[in-house]
Symmetry: C2
Subunit: 229 residues, 2 copies
């Protein structure tokens, strides 16, 4: 892994001299000092993608939430917890030639998060959590008037009507590509080692076969390299 | 680890022939297929305790939520996600000589959890989560009229006024001991390798020095063995 990282940095891959930002993993949104809202992203696909881009010679800034898998070597790791922290880390890492948003960012955070542990008070009263929308990192970067990365790629984790939702997301977010996958628990994809993606570009939808996440990452990295030529 | 487990089973520790239930780790309470509410418990203290009890010869049923550390060898592992599943696993594992509830069980679950992924609908409207209290596993077992384990031990993770809260909890839950610790983020205890506990028994409060979680586990296991003589 370390050798691969060094080779990539010294090597002459098609992404040599290119800077790519990859986000990965879940975000954790605090409820109180011990509780938080999480999601089932393991960070496996984003981590594999960062590794594959590194192997093609890219300089990679890897902005990762609390993932279950360790980050790859030979990339710049920026560890964050919340969506707001992730947005700030991405903004700080710009400019970039490409930005790939593979993280499963929480859509909401808890506005009235408590500074001390919430307790049952015996009244049977339940907590009332007030939510506010998190910054939309993908849309923010994809809509930049100045300094927008040439290629902006989003991920869509869907549980139904995957392609239609993903195409709508691509249009709404103004990003170049969407990598869509079906995270219905029965597929075993979220947290698993394989992925079945549909790549949505300006030219339509390509359905890829179910493949190991490493292989999905390699194919995506090659496509990213081709798009930056 | 495996050898230690076999030795314990074959050996003649003070807990030989005793059955101890240990719960450990966080619980995860679903919001929708990809989101859940979690807490920062790593399962390290409960896992160390199960190992220490095994090393003293106990037969251990280890009921664990999705923990960051692997379960010990030589114990019966029952893996669960939610508080309700944990309660059911504990009930199924009874009778026991002792039950130690080291898990950080969620106090609430989401009643209106969604079968498909919740989406931002563009209206700026935030989700409304309705909560209901989870079963109180510690109080349930401690209050058993028939078949109550001789020793019932709870844990209290507090962020302020640790001893007072823990003593109140011991009285309220009708358990024999409370192992209280301060999980204020600044202590680094939750998710860390050390613990500073106060043991609350019918004889008052003992403040233990800050120790590795393995050592806290060994001392607790010895005390549990003594109490079952």
């Amino acid at each position: 892994e370390i050798v691969a990282g060094i080779e990539a940095v010294l090597g002459d891959g098609p992404l040599k001299g290119r800077h790519v930002i990859v986000t990965s993993g879940p975000t954790h949104e605090p409820i109180d000092p011990v509780r938080y809202i999480a999601n089932r992203s393991s960070g496996a696909q984003g981590t594999a993608l960062a590794r594959a881009l590194r192997d093609l010679g890219a300089r990679v800034t890897f902005v990762t939430g609390p993932a279950a898998v360790p980050p790859p070597g030979g990339v710049e790791v920026v560890a964050v917890q919340t969506a707001v922290e992730m947005r700030d880390a991405v903004t700080a890492a710009l400019p970039a030639d490409a930005a790939v948003f593979a993280a499963a960012v929480a859509d909401w955070h808890v506005v009235n998060a408590s500074g001390s542990k919430m307790k049952k008070d015996g009244s049977g009263k339940s907590p009332e959590l007030d939510f506010a929308e998190n910054p939309d990192i993908l849309a923010t970067v994809a809509s930049m008037k100045k300094g927008r990365p040439k290629l902006v790629v989003g991920f869509a984790a869907e549980t139904d009507d995957v392609q239609a939702h993903a195409e709508a997301k691509r249009a709404r977010k103004k990003c170049d590509w969407i990598v869509a996958n079906d995270v219905t628990p029965a597929t075993g994809i979220m947290g698993g080692t394989e992925n079945a993606v549909t790549l949505i570009t300006g030219n339509g939808a390509e359905e890829w076969p179910r493949l190991p996440k490493d292989e999905v990452a390699r194919r995506l990295a090659v496509r990213i390299a081709e798009s930056l030529v």
